[in-house]
Symmetry: C2
Subunit: 384 residues, 2 copies
């Protein structure tokens, strides 16, 4: 049906009406006092979301712009770095690092398995010259959550290295206490836990990161975070920002503040649990290693079936958009996004839609209703 789409992909995620209304307002001058107030308020709320006293800078750009900014502002050509790679976004870190001539050691795991913190420790212990450890927290392509806290602890024990994390699909979905865990740089994007359309991205920098930035010699201009820092201290931006997305940002962050961090994290956990258990109860395998499923995305591997056929059936019959597998996982997995502006109704309908699609395709292995019953039980038991 036209205009009836429900997004259950890991980004763009659904956007509340309040946020869309704010987005659709007439723009104002980006050098006006009124806009400065918006910059000031959103900056405070961004610090709250990141649980940091450091800086959070807003860039007009995709999440990849924030990832690149994280690297080119803290490192120099030839710097030794370790990149964790167990999915498409881990691969992207490696590509960005190599594009700038960094000396990259890659710690790989199979897609669907988490990074092993001990492997990071063993390389860090042996090499004083490592300048950064760069990882993806929630790997969007596979639905894995990596142990950022443990890896960060190993980096903290090192003399020179900082830790840079892509928290694009973990921030606003689970606890990422930047200061407590000692994460030096966090990159994120607006179309995820922020409950906003894409177009803004964010780089959080602590004191260590700024210290590292002093020796960084990689060329940059638009993504030079020193200019953003100078501007943010005056509640402003170095370049004309996406004014309307700032309106939306203020609205969505206010909604998140009203809900509260622990409620947001609990909601995502319940939705993850309900989705995972519902899939298993229908006889479908989860792609992520047990215990490492992301609170933002559940990847399902319907062994023996074409994942794309299930995904398309759900789309055609129910106007629910699930994500497919990327690269070698295309046709092998489908991914259910339960990130951001998602309520229990969305989880129940997604499960029901997948169950219905399997029934229609004559591939249902358990009695019709099993998935929805499982999800319902968990949602009722684990109250919000």
């Amino acid at each position: 049906m036209q205009d009836k789409l429900t997004l259950m992909i890991p980004g763009p995620t659904p956007v509340p009406e309040r946020v869309l209304k704010a987005l659709g307002k007439h723009p104002i001058g980006h050098r006006s006092q009124e806009f400065q107030q918006i910059v000031k308020r959103t900056t405070e709320l961004l610090k709250w979301l990141h649980q940091t006293n450091g800086d959070v800078l807003t860039i007009t750009g995709s999440g990849t712009a924030a990832m690149e900014a994280a690297i080119i502002n803290t490192l120099s050509q030839g710097d030794k770095v370790i990149c964790g790679e167990n999915g498409k976004f881990g691969e992207r870190w490696v590509k960005v690092a190599k594009a700038y001539g960094l000396d990259v050691t890659t710690i790989k795991e199979d897609w669907g398995k988490p990074l092993d913190p001990e492997k990071f420790k063993s390389i860090l212990d042996k090499d004083d010259e490592i300048r950064a450890v760069i990882i993806t927290h929630s790997e969007t392509s596979t639905g894995i959550i990596n142990d950022l806290k443990a890896i960060s602890r190993h980096v903290k024990a090192h003399r020179n290295a900082i830790i840079i994390a892509d928290c694009v699909t973990s921030l606003g979905a689970c606890n990422v206490p930047m200061d407590e865990w000692g994460i030096d740089v966090i990159a994120s994007g607006s179309q995820k836990g922020y409950m906003m359309p894409p177009g803004l991205s964010f780089v959080a920098m602590n004191e260590n990161a700024w210290e590292a930035s002093k020796r960084s010699n990689l060329p940059k201009f638009y993504l030079d975070l020193q200019s953003y820092k100078k501007s943010i201290d005056k509640d402003s931006n170095p370049f004309t920002p996406s004014v309307n997305l700032y309106f939306a940002l203020e609205e969505s962050l206010s909604m998140m503040k009203d809900e509260g961090l622990s409620s947001i994290f609990n909601r995502h956990k319940r939705h993850m649990n309900a989705t995972q258990e519902a899939m298993k109860s229908m006889g479908l395998d989860l792609f992520a290693k047990d215990g490492f499923g992301s609170p933002a995305i559940t990847s399902v591997e319907p062994t023996g079936l074409d994942a794309e056929t299930i995904r398309k059936t759900v789309k055609v019959n129910f106007d629910i958009l699930l994500a497919g597998g990327q690269d070698h996982l295309k046709g092998k997995i489908f991914r259910i996004g339960h990130l951001g502006f998602v309520n229990d109704r969305d989880i129940i309908t997604a499960v029901a839609a997948i169950e219905s699609a399997l029934d229609q395709l004559n591939e249902l292995k358990k009695p019709l209703g099993t998935g929805v019953a499982t999800a319902t039980k968990i949602l009722n038991k684990q109250s919000n």
Copy 2:
């Protein structure tokens, strides 16, 4: 009055309701066929606007991102380039070029005076090694239009150089026939002639520019136009684009197509003429050298008066936002933006508001009504 603001700054410019409505729609998946259709249609319309058969690539970012992309995709470290500099955006070109280690020769003119094409010719004639000439077409900070056509002609006569132009406030305001004039790279931004909020920028590349890109060795990732080119050929984007701004882009470009290029250019010319003559008739000096006023912005130098006081009075009494002077021109000039979604009513009210402000400040040198009468006469005589 709250929510009654009229923007008459050179960006953000006013946005039509249709475009805001499109902006405020629920986002869709950026890898969907529906979104591919939007990319396809906007790409065709962008080519129409640029009057080119080359490529026009859409970047989620500010205009400066497009400027940087233009440089880092066509040039290499140490390359000799000529930058024209007669305002703040000319200065920005120089800063970007130097940030990437280019060997920059600057051709300067005083702010308010146009670049001299002959000076470009004389350097080009003497030096075969020049790789690019980089200029600003409409210099937003001063309201000057530079002679891009003449400068481009001199570049075409050179063996090696390409021409890169910032057309941020000229595209969609006056004729910029990319292919006819042989402009190799054009950078522009959404919050200008496009009648959209800020957040998207555009880089147009012709065959010469792609040829130059083959030898470019500057490091890049987010702004690597080869990835955008590969994606656009599949009606897609390399990174998650600003989906909602794409909705707005399709709407605004359709409106522009309906109006037609010659009507758009004629409208801007009439508004420029009416504004310039109205200011002169009130005894106010224009800042731009005679004959070189931009069709997008009229800069006014109210000799003996504080420009900021006039600007603030207009804002407080009429909710019309004019732009002030930048850097050393602060307090010396104010700038009237008549770019994009501007009609005759906007011109008349801006003139009336300035006239009223001068009257209230007891600084009116001519009978009250002179400015509005002058503007009205010109608008009536030069029909749309």
